[in-house]
């Protein structure tokens, strides 16, 4: 089996993976990081979104072997139960979470959004989150949360 060496949430790891595994299998089945969710499994829904070398990535489409040498950020690397990241905090305060399945992907995508647009317009937000489906809480609450988080995250810089 191929050996993949990578950094996940600032921790160096070495994993044996079957060659046909995708990155989400490496994260969930190989490392037990269950925060990243698999929705559609074909790149449409955005639930599995992670950052690979800072770039937005669908973990269900990326081959695990391709992650060799990469730096991966998953939802587990964004905040902790004790200290939520401001993006997570905003999602909670605005009721932008219902079942929570899409939330890790949305939080990661919002993180990438704020890296590129510290003061995003509503158009920027809608455009950036256009590949992340939520089927319960509703997009307006998510939009409110992201607007709010943008202020908090950017003010802190």
């Amino acid at each position: 089996m191929p050996v993949v060496e990578l950094t996940v949430n600032e921790r160096a790891v070495r994993v044996d993976v079957p060659g046909q595994w995708t990155l989400i299998q490496l994260l969930r089945d190989g490392l037990g990081l269950l925060g990243t969710k698999e929705g559609c499994g074909e790149g449409s829904c955005g639930a599995c979104t992670v950052l690979v070398d800072g770039r937005l990535t669908r973990a269900c489409l990326a081959l695990a072997v391709r992650a060799d040498g990469a730096r991966v950020t998953t939802i587990e690397g964004v905040g902790t139960d004790a200290a939520l990241h401001p993006i997570q905090d905003a999602f909670v305060r605005h009721g932008a979470i219902q079942c929570g399945f899409c939330t890790p992907g949305l939080v990661i995508t919002t993180k990438a959004l704020l890296d590129e647009h510290p003061w995003p317009t509503d158009h920027d937000i809608r455009e950036f989150l256009s590949g992340n489906f939520c089927r319960c809480a509703g997009y307006n609450l998510i939009l409110n949360a992201v607007r709010d988080a943008a202020g908090v995250v950017t003010e802190k810089r």
């Binding site: 191929p2 079957p18 060659g19 046909q20 595994w21 995708t22 299998q25 698999e38 499994g41 074909e42 790149g43 449409s44 955005g46 979104t49 770039r55 937005l56 990535t57 669908r58 269900c60 489409l61 990326a62 081959l63 072997v65 391709r66 995508t109 990438a112 455009e127 950036f128 256009s130 590949g131 992340n132």
Partner: protein
Amino acid sequence: MILRPFEYVESQTVDDAVAALRGGGDDARVIAGGTALVPLMKHAVLRPARLVSIARVPGLADIAPATSGGLRIGGVATHWAVSHATLVRERSPLLAYACARVASPTVRSMGTLGGNLCYGESASDPAPALLALRATVRLHGPGGARTVPITEFFTGFYETALQEAEVLTSLDVPAMPAGARWRYLKWTPRAQEDKALVGLAAMLVLDGHRCRVARLAVGGVGASPVVLARAEQALEGQELDEATIARAADAAAGEVEPMDDLQGSAEYRRDMLRVWVRRVVAGLAEGRAS
């Protein structure tokens, strides 16, 4: 959804990739970003025994200026990279914009321009832009390198001029003429993340109100992305009045062979193409650009 086992080859050079593809025969496939190929493998539409990666070949993602004033874009440059590159935004804003309309930000940051074209999807966003810009495709195969005008690259429903064991290495994109007006219109009747039902790329050069150059191409309508040659002819050399623009829109609607599918009927596609050619050209003629 999981993948069936395959052999994975990480190529260091284009020649390595070509050799690995030849060795794998019909069961070998090139993989770059994987955004098109991996879903097809998950659904068992394709079952390659060997995947030959070209994603890490040095230089293959480069975006460089060409001496002609145009651009050379490496086959594995991502849509994200192309749409964000200052060089592309300056020299070929139509292409930068079309690449920024592909799927979603995450898919754009994984999927590559070369992969997009080799997939042969009719509703490709960059394809009509590259057709309107009259780009050239550079391929490398067992017989060496060759070039194909993009106007001859798309040969049918998910079919391209790519031959066995060939790799798309780069694209040559001519500079847009000074003062060119352009637009890429992606008509998705249902939702933003859908494929284009009409993906219309247009570039016009005007002398006053007379059209000196007209370049129009469309994806999503027929089996392949195509140049709207008759519509271009109807515009070039003419004053862009309402009647001329309507003639060009009718010419476009008449020269395509639209598909019928769940997104829309053939006649709906034909009608929407007529509508959008008229609106886009009229908008550009009035200076309501991009």
